[in-house]
């Protein structure tokens, strides 16, 4: 379905990003696995992808660092000649009550989760405009739609990503670059493992489908948005949350 295409997945070394990277590879795409510090994990994903019979490279880059992001895009084009799909997935949490939240906690999350999306999008747009085609899929979060106590920084960033998605979709539509966001609910990964059992039970009671999502549940929606089946969808935010927010 995606053979001959090149995808970049930021934060592709673990969790949801890893699952997305593998799903796109299964569809035949060559995949660039971006990571921040965890080279070992990134290498494992690259090897798993190569076993699927497509090509993969890992690239370390802080998504909020313009130079590093430019270098990542350059390496991608040097290796594969094009960029068809960008999945802005890299993200972090620094949870705290607003009254206790430090400026650094706010800034770190905005930098990685919001500015990172801006940087990577800006950097791939040149190539996608030349190609007259491209797909950008931004991983937001359901809390960016609903709000969530203890996550002022994270929610602000994710709501920002949804707004950025809509604007980018409008700016680039004439060049056949489609931009959408996904808003996962509670997905079992390292990120959500940090929560206490009490917090997890509290979340569970809010989910109509009464279970947590798996990274694969998210990856399959990304696969759809990256495919020709989604040719007429842009600027949308797709909820993948077991019905948590309607």
């Amino acid at each position: 379905m995606l053979s001959g295409k090149t995808a970049i997945v930021t934060g592709g070394s673990r969790g949801i990003g890893k699952s997305i990277a593998i799903e796109l590879a299964k569809q035949g795409a060559n995949v660039v696995v971006n990571y921040a510090g965890n080279e070992q994990k990134a290498q494992e994903v690259v090897e798993e992808i190569e076993r699927l019979g497509v090509q993969s490279i890992k690239v370390q880059a802080d998504v909020a660092n313009e130079e590093q992001v430019k270098e990542m895009i350059k390496q991608t084009i040097d290796s594969f000649g094009r960029v068809d799909i960008l999945v802005n997935n890299a993200g972090i949490t620094r949870d705290n009550l607003l009254m206790r939240m430090k400026e650094t906690e706010f800034d770190q999350v905005i930098n990685t989760n919001l500015k990172g999306v801006f940087m990577c999008t800006k950097a791939v747009t040149r190539q996608m405009m030349k190609q007259r085609s491209g797909r950008i899929i931004n991983v937001a979060s359901i809390v960016g739609v609903s709000g969530n106590p203890g996550q002022a920084n994270y929610v602000a960033a994710k709501a920002g990503v949804i707004g950025l998605t809509k604007t980018t979709a409008k700016e680039l539509a004439s060049r056949n670059i489609l931009v959408n966001a996904i808003a996962p609910g509670f997905i079992s990964t390292d990120m959500t493992d940090q929560l206490t059992d009490e917090q997890k039970e509290g979340m569970l009671s809010l989910i109509p489908l009464a279970k947590f999502g798996q990274p694969e549940d998210v990856a399959k929606v990304v696969r759809f948005l990256a495919s020709d089946d989604a040719n007429y969808i842009t600027g949308q935010t797709i909820h993948i949350d077991g019905g948590m927010v309607m």
Binding site: R126, M129, K130, E171, S174, R175
Partner: protein, 78 residues
């Protein structure tokens, strides 16, 4: 001089799909050549590739006419 203008003209005709005769040094991209903001950004990208240079965003924003682009390139190469 003419050389740069000719190469710039060729790119404009190709990218904006306009008649060659309309591409004069005085022609404004947006007013006379029917380009929108994104077209201008794209043109600048093409010029960067053609002339193997980088035009900073602040400089690119000052390029409004064909002559602006030609001058910019000539100054850089001169």
């Amino acid at each position: 001089m003419a050389d740069v203008f000719d190469r710039v003209k060729e790119i404009i005709v190709d990218k904006l799909d306009v008649d060659e005769s309309k591409v004069t040094l005085e022609a404004s991209f947006k007013e006379d050549l029917d380009a929108d903001s994104l077209d201008v950004v794209e043109l600048v990208m093409e010029l960067e590739d053609e002339f193997d240079m980088e035009i900073a965003d602040e400089e690119a924003e000052k390029i409004n006419t064909v002559g602006d682009a030609v001058d910019y390139i000539n100054n850089l190469q001169g």
